[in-house]
Point group: C2
Chain length 445, copies 2
Amino acid sequence: MKIVVIGGIAGGTSAAAKAKRTNKSAEIVIYEKGKYVSVGACGIPYVLGGYIPGPEKLIVRRPEDFEKSGIKVKLEHEVVGIDLDKRKVLVRDPQGRTFEDPFDRLIIATGASARKLDVPGSNLRGVFTVKGLDDLIAIESYIKKENVNKILIVGGGFIALELISAFRERGFDVYSLYYKGHVPSRFDRDVVEPVLSKLDEKGVKKLWNTELEEIEGRERVERVRLKSGEIVEVDMVIMAVGVKPNSKLAKEAGLELSVAESIKVDEHMQTSEEGIYAAGDCTHCYSVVTGKPIYLPLGSIANRHGRVAGTNAAGGKAIMAPVAAGTVFKFFELGIAKTGLTEREAINEGFNTASVLVKALDKAHYFPGAGRLWIKLVWEKESGRLLGAQMVGPYTAVKRIDVVSALLHKHSTIEDLKNVDMAYSPPFSPAWDPLSIAANQAVKE
Amino acid sequence: MKIVVIGGIAGGTSAAAKAKRTNKSAEIVIYEKGKYVSVGACGIPYVLGGYIPGPEKLIVRRPEDFEKSGIKVKLEHEVVGIDLDKRKVLVRDPQGRTFEDPFDRLIIATGASARKLDVPGSNLRGVFTVKGLDDLIAIESYIKKENVNKILIVGGGFIALELISAFRERGFDVYSLYYKGHVPSRFDRDVVEPVLSKLDEKGVKKLWNTELEEIEGRERVERVRLKSGEIVEVDMVIMAVGVKPNSKLAKEAGLELSVAESIKVDEHMQTSEEGIYAAGDCTHCYSVVTGKPIYLPLGSIANRHGRVAGTNAAGGKAIMAPVAAGTVFKFFELGIAKTGLTEREAINEGFNTASVLVKALDKAHYFPGAGRLWIKLVWEKESGRLLGAQMVGPYTAVKRIDVVSALLHKHSTIEDLKNVDMAYSPPFSPAWDPLSIAANQAVKE
């Protein structure tokens, strides 16, 4: 059996490795169009922030590691076509020559591309997006060569916020440009108050409720002109305005697409064509809350996808469970996390929602360093069914979002959350854990 | 309606406050035999360790706070008898006079007492147990007056370990005496390796697999003689060998007892007698894993008990859910946590168990400060039903024990744990959370 894997970052390498473990005799080849495989791309903001010494630290495994376990890795080989009928891919090698490679099973893990706002000047030197190792290297090289003091981050999602805190902690003047009035995006306004205060406390300049009109400069970025009329001098612009799945190749081959133009898959990570699988940022998940497909381009999800796709492609049997969509990230000293639906999202899904917002200490009140954790719980009014949670607070406190994710997986109620006897001692929580306080308040006890 | 509450630490004050909120017109009186109410006794090791400036910090609410909300507090008033038929208690006031007080509903929250080993010399000056604020004050006063360098901690439970790390971090020579061969007690041997290394690394002297024969000294503790024949010079001995429920009063009144001689209650926290409730360390819980009563003298549980007992006593309706028995504590830089059953306990309960032990990084491998988290999962072999988890690792990593507690509450399987999409970014976990790694290994994926 021959398995071809297109893409070698998170989903692709997970799939290849798992396929090999599932079927030792399978011939497996990874075609990766870039120069690296197996990159921990989620670490990029932390390299930029100076936490991690260099880009090479983010490389999890090298081609030779894969070769050792019997997986061929072809770098700078781009798959430019898929022939579903003849079961072969068309590959372009580093010299630009194309060749065909037949497969029995195919795993598409083409990832996603950073969106770039199409405004005048967006191709000037000093304008970047952040997705892969190449971007990281380009940004560091630009900072090293140019006299960079002022950095504009465009976007309000978690990558934008990670970049804001990274560059600010490294001492740059940081400007946040976002077309809406609060960050992070996809959080309810009421729970993010500490994020807004933190931005002010750290001296990040907010340019909100407006948009980029033009990026100006001769040799490189010198200033931006906003729709509000404001002109701001900056040395670098980073667009962190989301990603789009690289699904063009799949679409051209005739595969069906799903939410956000991601490649449609079933619970086996099989596409609309038998024997053709997809994994990672190019495809989607199913929500455990709504049952609907959701686009969730996260490294952890890509790894899960990869294992399922790899197992099934190699003749095993695995299922990709629906996801609660738990996410977490660091923003200066804060942790920010969510799972399931926000209240806004739940309302849009047609739920009759109820919610509570509590601000509870994350440690016993007498324990040094206790800080306030903001928790918002959202549930369905009649049934009490949990729909989601959002948390903002001390960095070490927000990983308890996983408790709510676990309960969402089990279709639990707010009463169930109330009943969980959260582990307690003074350095870890108050006698009533913040989550229990929120649940108590929700059930009005 | 008149509600009498016996005991004013955690369970009693929670019950009184909740009863008042449930029924504003109820007359409520708390009889507390000690000098304080509403003490966060779980903070005692952290005061001893120098984290928290003084004992008074541990007082959550003062008598006047209760009086303000209409709850009478009688300090140094000991209830010495309960007449179930006539519905009244016999109370001894600070002057030693006794009086009767009638009640409609009674809440017994008499707490627990520290066990003390009955060996020759155990009443010498310099021998202590640790349960309440009085103990803390006595220990600090002894340390201040005497020339204390060497402290012997007897016991292997979590309070013993909290005290070991507290005194060691404060610079004392610390000796650990334990009759078994590994700590903490009630953990499986295989998962506690980092605890044993930490004891050595910190220079704690282990006197294990032996017992106290005698405590010797003229004016005060000077040395201990062990059953092994060893003689060790010490200045202070602290016995942290568990607690026993203060259930004598209830037993004498004719109430039924349960596990570990705790006061028997149903899910409403009602004792064997209608209208008489119990809460806190004097009573028990039910295990969500086995359905059986378990004795779990924890501050967080006492608070839960209190709310349920208080609600029901005041005419409301509340249920004390079974508990997963999640616990967590800090030991030097380590966090130690468990929930449900250990493998040993599960085997003793008659389960056909399976288990995995993983040692996974708690953050992305490239993130500074990543440390190894040891996780042991225990489940029932045939059904895959989760039975428990134990964790030892970086302090900030072990609160994820609550994820397993939540799943235990929902009678979940190891497959369910595998399916939870744990929130990820590099400062919070590797792309595969340690719990997911453990679950993957458990289901052999």
